[in-house]
Structure formats: structure tokens, C-alpha cells
Amino acid sequence: MLWGVVQFPGSCDERDALHACELSGEARLIWHEERDLGGIDAVVVPGGFSYGDYLRAGAIARFSPAMEAVTEFAAAGGPVLGICNGFQVLCETGLLPGALLVNEGLRFACRQVELLVERFSPPAGGKSFNLAGEPLSIPAKHGEGRYWAPEEMLDALEANGQVAFRYAPGQNPNGSARDIAGVRNEAGNVLGLMPHPEHAVDAMTGSTDGLQIFDAVAGARV
């Protein structure tokens, strides 16, 4: 298992993601100017403030050569995990539906949250992440994490089983629509979420529940 972790100027959590990936295989950083992903099995688009995020989170990163390569990788069925800023980048790129808006409270929020794992049946022939279904304790930390999509799209996402994670009741830190914390693409091989599973891989820092998400992504590779 070889993981690739994309690194943009302004990425913050890429070393944390690299470390988490190394717990279930080998991992290397992919510099944002790289166009060739070179035989990796799964991609993580990590958290941070790519290119400063002064315009709109992820709006510039989507144009990087590395994201062109990631888009092709995803189209070929490769597993892609976007975390926080990476989730924002995947939405900007169009690999995932919806958008992330400024938190309802207008402030950055860093806190441990309970995530409910949605059960779903993957569409016929589609690959899917396999998670046990127990609630996960994972930290969230962001200023632009309010998941938004038009009502019809939200209905469709729920009908398709594309809602991957919801914040447990009362724990939604940002005002996300329908408490959505993470979504999948239709095929099921691209997953994005605002909370940080790479910061929940060691009991010393608070939780190991994030390991399940990395394992699930690893399990979805071609």
C-alpha cells in the first residue's frame, strides 16, 4: 500500500496525514507541481490553508498540476480522501458535490466531535468505503466548514447513500446542512470530510478512531 499526500504551499496537516498513512503502509508527499502520481494506491488531499486560502478555501489549489493528476486518478477509480482543506479542494475541483461555507458562528472552531457513520448500499459496480458504523470521536478545526448544497441535491445525496458522516446531535460545530460532516462521490471512491482523522490515530493525542477511516480508504483501492 503506497499513499500519496498532496502538499500545496500553505498546507498545514500534510506531515500529520503522512504519519497517519504510514501506520497502514508507505507514504510520500506529492508536491503540488507534480503531474505524475507515480504508482500510488490512494491519495490524501490534506488540511491547511492552500495558497493562503485568501480567495475562497481551495479555489486556487484546484488548478494545480497535482490536482489535475488526482482528478484523473479518481476517474480511474483510485481512492481519494480529502480532509478539511482537502475536502474544500475536492468540492472546488468538482470531484465531490456541494460547497463549504464560512462557519455559522463566523469563528474558527477547534473541538473534538462525535461523528455518526452512515450506513449505505453502494450502487451496483461502484466501489465503496467500508466502515463499521460505530460513532467516531475525531477533532474538527476549521473556519469554513459549513456544508451546503441545494435542497434537491441534499435529497439526492441522501437517497444515493452519499452522505458519509454526520455530526452527532448537538455537535455540529459550523451549521452544516443536515449535520453533514462528510460526503462521497457517486461511484464511492472519493471521500471528503471536515474533521481530521489524521489527528485521531494515537491515544496520546486523544483518540484512535481516525484509523478506521484510513483503513476504509485503503480497503477501497482497485
Partner: protein
């Protein structure tokens, strides 16, 4: 020689005295030109020259076995083993934050980060020490909100966790808030560099952002004079922060150092190129030549003096061997950060400023950097309490406990104290900061008395604390400062850590006035004596003077940052109670008194005077607690601080969601009144929980352990004679968690 000076004389407008100007003329052998005068005015400012504090700072102990770098470098550093060092420093950005809190605080964080990575250390933690006026003031709420957002904006974006800090609200900071930021970094010792320029003929390379007109005169205009009316006009002297630029610059500098491409490195902070070039030359005993025409500019028509004094952020100055310049520029290009060769290291002992090869300023390094006269203070002890006193207890009780509450009841006092913004939980603030990026944070804010970070490189861990209660220093500058050092040491002990080194930021009023001079003198002596007694070296620091407005000086506020080590981050004890049924004990030489306490403040009963702590006894208690935490005999540990034992008990109970039943009879047998036992403050008290036999076994070696009661139920029940109290955890908790609603009273 010169025409009689008037207030509009250029040197006076730049903050130099007539005598200082005459000395410059004497040292140059001529009148300085405009470029030279601008450069002298900055390097001879209090902010850069420490002219009113340097003599006092010589009292501080700076040496120790573990010291890798001491004062004089960009930051201090201590050895943590396996070839690694921990670098750290605290610095103020008070006046910029008073003028524009968001950018002032943001660039304060940016500046202290640069100080740490200038050594070759990767920043791994930020802590902040903030002071504002009382929260019922609109201005204080505006400053708090702006400063917290600014710290978050910079620290969150650059990916360095903000792991701790403190905030106090006191009237004397109303017109002069304090924003002190501390950064901690980890470095491979073999890759660390000093700031001294070396190697005649080497290139001087300016890296990072281009240079603009922002922040011109910040060090002299803002940082070295009192704040006054019309300070909004000084807003252009506040710098604008760009954490993305700094993030690239940080990674770029660390890559350059790891590749061995830099001879030395210095950040550009106050006084910009002038101070960084001057100080690098001075430290290396060489000269330096800079051609301002080669400096990348934001505005083409900048004058040489503007380029030399600009405080544009996110810039670093490196000395590079000529053969390696191309490699340095290639790394900078990879990180999309600017790089320009702007000068050379010379052997003539001069700072020479050129524009397109033509000399526009030339000064001996010695005169410019080290020539500023150092002044003796003229301290005078004031008679009694010089700050205000207002009885707000009834109003605070009504706000915290309801209009029907009896202000005389001990429950009411406890609720008012818990809701007091200085005592209340700071969760509202620290949840706006990323406290976990980097995967080192073993104890998040408020979960333990000190921040705890893993240092896997050295198979070790560190604990960090920052403290300084200005009100108590105002009561007695000597004892109050000793207490600040002891509080840090106690916080580290609760985490199971042993102190390695200390940094400090001395925030005081105008040193040219007798009372602030006396406060500064006594405080530095307290700092020196406490550090000496604890065996903790001072490895760096910062002085911020002239913190006063038209209403007078701030509370004298020495902020102490301490770093300690522990063998394993998992050993650190939580602050809150751990288990129902555990025994609760008070350990240490705690002699509570209402002098200078939070309760005395609410009652308007503040007065000069504070009893002197027994440093040796506190040190023994710290050692006992440290060992007890490491060996697992202590299940939770919290130092007794603001609001006394009652508030400490409430904090331990609320944090854990576990009540307590205690009896303060033992303290009363020591001669305390019930009220002193409940709400009295002082150094040396540890509130511990754990198995009864294990806690009792901690006594000995001159360390006393008093069993107070047990962890039980869902209320805080304290027997204290006629002041006994009982308060439900939910009621106490909502008072303690009321900072957010108070801070956002404007609907912000």
C-alpha cells in the same frame, strides 16, 4: 554646532533626546544625514537598545548545563537530548494591538515565529498572554475579539498549534492592552545557526516578502512612547500580517538550513533592515553593506530611509557564501518566496547604505548598535496603592447568581469569582485556535495545568506554561514576580515536568517616571532571585516599556514563560478530578491571604503589600508533586491560584463532571479565617486527588499534605465554619463557562 533644538527638531520627533543627538554627532564626527538619523533613532529606541532596562537585566541568571543558546540570540534554546534542542521566546506586541488588535496580534505571532525559525527550529507551539480592561467596556470587548481572531488567523493558517495561554481583565489595561506571544520550536542542534554575520565577502540575501511602507517607525513611534489620544492616526505604523507568505518562508528557511546553505540567519522585526543588518554585523564584529536599490519594493518610489526602517512582515536576512547564492535562490524559488542579494559582509566595521552604488549613509556598527547610552533608573516607592479600587461584588453577584442572591453568602462569592472573566474558563478563546496540528499535543488547553507536547525526535516530552498576574505584582513587584515564576514551576510540576529554562516579557510603564522605575527594579530582582533559587536559567526575553495612557501606567506585568521536560507525555496528570471516591489533598506551603486576591479586587479592597513566598519550600513541593505525578501516585493535580482553594476545587470538579466534599478545618487550624481558607491566594498550594494512602505517603522532606475530603456527588460542598458552602456542578459550571456570552455582549 547645532541650532537650538525645538520640539519640531527632527531628532525629537523621532524620539531622541538632545543629549543623545549630541552623542551621535560626536560619534560620527558630523551631523547625521536623514537616513542615518532615522536608523539611529530606531536602534537607540527603548525597544531596540533596552536603554532603561539593560543594566537591570544583568541581574538575571542566564547559565545552566542545559542552555544551548542564551540571551542575545533570536531566541533561547535548551538541550532535550538525542542532539535536539527546544528553542523558545516570548515577545510583546502591545502598542500595535492597542491601535489595531487583529493585525497587531497577528503580526505579534508572526514575529515570534520568525525569531524561533531563525535559529533553525521548527515552531511547534504558540502560547499567548493577553491583558485587557474590564469586559464591561465596549473597547475591551473589541480588543479581545480582535486579538483572539488575529492570533487564530496567523497561527491557524501557518499550521503551528496554539496550545496555551492566559487572559486577565483589569481596569489599568483599558487604554493599553497587552498582547504577548510565545513560540516554542524544536531543532536538530547540528542545524542551528546564530544571528552573527561572518565571513568577509559573503553575500547578504534578503528573503521573503517585498518591502513596503507599512510599519515605518513602529519601534520608535509605537513601542517606545506612551499611548495617547489620536492614536488612530498611528494606524499606518501597524504592520499587516500574511501567514501564507510566512508559511512559505518558514519551510524555505528550514530547507536552506537543513542543506547547510546559510552561514547565519536573522529575522526582520522592529526597525526592519536597520536592526537586523546592524545586529548581525555587531554580533559578528564585522561590517555590512546594503544597496537599497536591490531590495524588492512594493512601491517604486520609496526613499532609502524608508527601505531601511520599513517593518514589512515576513522577511528574513541570511548570510550566504558567494558560491552558494544560486542554490539559495533556487530553494527560495521552489517555495515561491522572494530572494535578493542586497549586500555583502565587510571588514570595515561600518554599516554602509548605498543606493545604486552611491553611499547614502555610513555609520560605525559600534556607534549604531552598541553606542546608545544606558540609563540608570531613578526609582521611588509609592506610598500605598496607586491604582483604582471599586466595589463591584454586589453587581457581579447579581450578574452571576441572579438579582435575588445574597451578596454576603459564600455561594454568591464563589459564583461571582467563577464568572469573573479573569477566572472563568477561556474555552471561548482557545476553541478559536488550532491546538492540535503537528500531532504533538498530548494535553489540550484546560485539560492539564501546563501544555504538554511530545518530542518523539528525542524520545521525550515538554510541558509549557505562561503566567504573570499583574495585579499581584502591583501589590508588591518583588513578591508578585516571584509568584509568577513559582506559578509556572507549579504548573509544570502538575504535568510531571522539571523546568529547563525560562523566557520573560517585562511589560511596564514609563521607566523615566519614578514609580514604574521602582516597579521594574523590584520585579527584575524578584525574577532573578526566584530563578536563582529554582536553578532555572533565563534564556531570552523582551522588554516592553511605556505601557501607559493618560490614566497612568498599567499594572506592572512580568510575563513568565517556562519550558520543562518529562520522560513521557502520557504521564502528565489532568487538572480535573479523575475518579469518584478518590481522596482530595492539599500539598505544599500554602498560606492563603486575601491580599491582592480576586475577591479583594471585587470588593474594592486592594492595597499595597503581599507576603513573600518561601521559594525553597515551594521548590520542594514541586519536586514531590513532579515525582508523584510521574509515578502515578497522583491522579489529578492543579495549582491553587486565582480565586483561591474554592475556585481551584470548582475548576477540578467542573472540568471532570465530578463533585467533591471537603472540609477546610486543617487550614483553619493553621490560623486561616474561613474566608481566607476559601478564597485566599498565595504560592505553593497543590490541589491533588488520588488514592488516600498514596497521597498521604507524599508527605515528608518538609512537605506537608493535608487531606481535605473526597471526590463525590454532583455538587461542590465545602465545610468552612460559618462560611460553609454547597453549590451544584451545573450552576457552578454555567458561571465558569460564561466568558463567551460576556465577550460577545455586543452580539459580535
Amino acid at each position: 554646532m547645532t541650532a537650538p533644538a525645538t520640539d519640531s527638531s527632527p531628532h525629537r520627533e523621532l524620539g531622541l533626546t538632545d543629549a543623545e543627538y549630541d552623542l551621535i554627532v560626536e560619534k560620527l564626527g558630523r551631523e547625521p544625514n536623514g537616513v542615518e538619523l532615522a536608523m539611529f533613532s530606531l536602534l537607540w529606541s527603548e525597544h531596540c537598545a533596552y536603554k532603561h532596562s539593560r543594566k537591570l537585566l544583568r541581574r538575571l541568571p542566564t547559565e545552566g548545563e542545559r542552555v544551548v543558546m542564551g540571551p542575545g540570540e533570536n531566541a533561547g534554546a535548551v538541550d532535550v537530548g538525542e542532539g535536539y534542542a527546544i528553542a523558545f521566546k516570548v515577545e510583546s506586541h502591545n502598542h500595535p494591538s492597542a491601535v489595531e488588535p487583529f493585525q497587531g496580534a497577528a503580526t505579534g505571532v508572526g514575529g515570534i515565529l520568525r525569531d524561533v525559525f531563525a535559529l533553525g527550529a521548527r515552531p511547534i507551539a504558540i502560547l499567548d498572554s493577553l491583558r485587557f480592561g474590564e469586559l464591561d467596556s465596549v473597547r475591551s470587548r473589541h480588543l479581545l475579539d480582535g486579538a483572539v481572531r488575529g492570533i487564530g488567523h496567523y497561527g491557524n493558517s501557518i499550521g503551528v498549534p496554539t496550545v496555551g495561554g492566559e487572559i486577565y481583565f483589569e481596569e489599568p489595561y483599558e487604554h493599553n492592552c497587552l498582547v504577548n506571544a510565545m513560540c516554542v520550536g524544536v531543532a536538530r542542534q547540528s542545524e542551528m545557526v546564530r544571528a552573527a554575520a561572518a565571513g568577509v565577502g559573503n553575500a547578504v540575501v534578503l528573503m521573503g516578502a517585498s518591502t513596503g511602507r507599512d510599519g515605518i517607525g513602529g519601534a520608535s513611534v509605537l513601542a517606545s512612547a506612551e499611548l495617547g489620544d489620536g492614536d488612530h492616526a498611528k494606524r499606518p505604523t501597524v504592520q499587516i500580517g500574511d501567514p501564507f507568505e510566512e508559511s512559505k518562508l518558514l519551510e524555505c528557511c528550514l530547507e536552506l538550513l537543513a542543506k547547510g546553505l546559510l552561514v547565519s540567519l536573522q529575522d526582520l522585526g522592529a526597525a526592519g533592515l536597520t536592526s537586523s543588518a546592524g545586529e548581525m554585523a555587531s554580533a559578528g564584529r564585522v561590517g555590512i553593506e546594503i544597496d537599497v536599490a536591490r531590495v524588492p519594493l512594493r512601491e517604486a518610489d520609496m526613499e532609502p530611509f524608508e527601505i531601511m526602517v520599513s517593518e514589512s512582515q515576513e522577511r528574513m536576512l541570511g548570510v550566504v557564501k558567494p558560491a552558494r547564492v544560486a542554490e539559495v535562490i533556487a530553494v527560495c524559488e521552489k517555495w515561491q518566496t522572494g530572494a535578493a542579494e542586497i549586500g555583502t559582509v565587510t571588514d570595515n566595521g561600518l554599516v554602509r547604505v548605498l543606493r545604486d552604488g552611491e553611499v547614502v549613509g555610513e555609520m560605525p556598527v559600534e556607534a549604531l548598535v552598541d553606542g546608545c547610552p544606558l540609563y540608570d533608573l531613578e526609582p521611588a516607592e509609592p506610598e500605598g496603592w496607586i491604582y483604582g479600587n471599586e466595589d463591584v461584588l454586589a453587581a457581579r453577584v447579581a450578574a452571576a447568581a441572579g438579582a435575588d442572591a445574597d451578596p454576603a453568602a459564600p455561594e454568591s462569592a464563589l459564583l461571582a469569582l467563577l464568572a469573573s472573566p479573569s477566572v472563568a474558563s477561556k474555552r471561548w478563546a482557545f476553541e478559536q485556535y488550532d491546538s492540535i496540528v503537528g500531532s504533538r499535543t498530548a494535553r489540550r488547553p484546560e485539560s492539564a495545568d501546563a501544555a504538554v507536547l511530545a518530542i518523539p525526535e528525542a524520545d521525550s516530552a515538554i510541558a509549557i506554561s505562561i503566567d504573570g498576574n499583574g495585579r499581584r505584582v502591583a501589590c508588591d513587584p518583588y513578591s508578585g514576580t516571584v509568584e509568577a515564576v513559582l506559578e509556572c514551576a507549579q504548573n509544570l510540576a502538575c504535568a510531571g515536568a522539571e523546568p529547563l529554562g525560562l523566557t520573560n516579557c517585562l511589560n511596564f510603564g514609563n521607566p523615566e517616571k519614578p514609580v514604574p522605575a521602582w516597579q521594574l527594579d523590584r520585579s527584575v530582582q524578584g525574577l532573578a532571585d526566584a530563578c536563582e533559587a529554582l536553578g532555572v536559567p533565563v534564556v531570552g526575553g523582551n522588554v516592553s516599556l511605556y505601557n501607559e495612557g493618560s490614566e497612568g501606567p498599567i499594572y506592572p506585568t512580568p510575563v513568565v514563560g517556562m519550558v520543562g521536560e518529562l520522560p513521557d507525555p502520557n504521564l502528565a496528570a489532568p487538572s480535573g478530578f479523575a475518579r469518584e471516591g478518590d481522596a482530595i489533598a492539599l500539598l505544599g506551603p500554602f498560606e492563603p491571604s486575601l491580599q491582592g486576591s480576586e475577591l479583594a479586587k471585587l470588593r474594592g479592597e486592594l492595597d499595597a503589600g503581599l507576603s513573600q513566598p518561601d521559594v525553597a519550600a515551594v521548590a520542594r513541593a514541586c519536586a514531590t508533586v513532579r515525582e508523584g505525578v510521574r509515578s502515578g501516585k497522583i491522579a489529578s493535580a492543579h495549582d491553587v491560584s486565582d480565586g483561591g482553594l474554592a475556585c481551584a476545587l470548582a475548576e477540578c470538579a467542573i472540568g471532570a463532571g465530578l463533585g467533591c466534599q471537603v472540609d477546610l478545618q486543617h487550614l483553619r487550624e493553621r490560623g486561616c479565617s474561613p474566608e481566607e481558607a476559601l478564597f485566599g491566594e498565595g504560592s505553593g498550594g497543590f490541589l491533588l486527588s488520588g488514592e488516600r494512602e498514596k497521597l498521604e505517603a507524599l508527605a515528608g522532606d518538609g512537605v506537608e499534605v493535608l487531606l481535605l475530603g473526597k471526590v463525590s456527588g454532583d455538587a461542590i460542598e465545602v465545610a468552612a465554619g460559618d462560611r460553609s458552602l454547597s453549590l451544584g456542578l451545573d450552576v457552578a459550571g454555567s458561571a465558569w463557562r460564561s466568558l463567551g456570552p460576556q465577550a460577545e455582549a455586543d452580539g459580535a
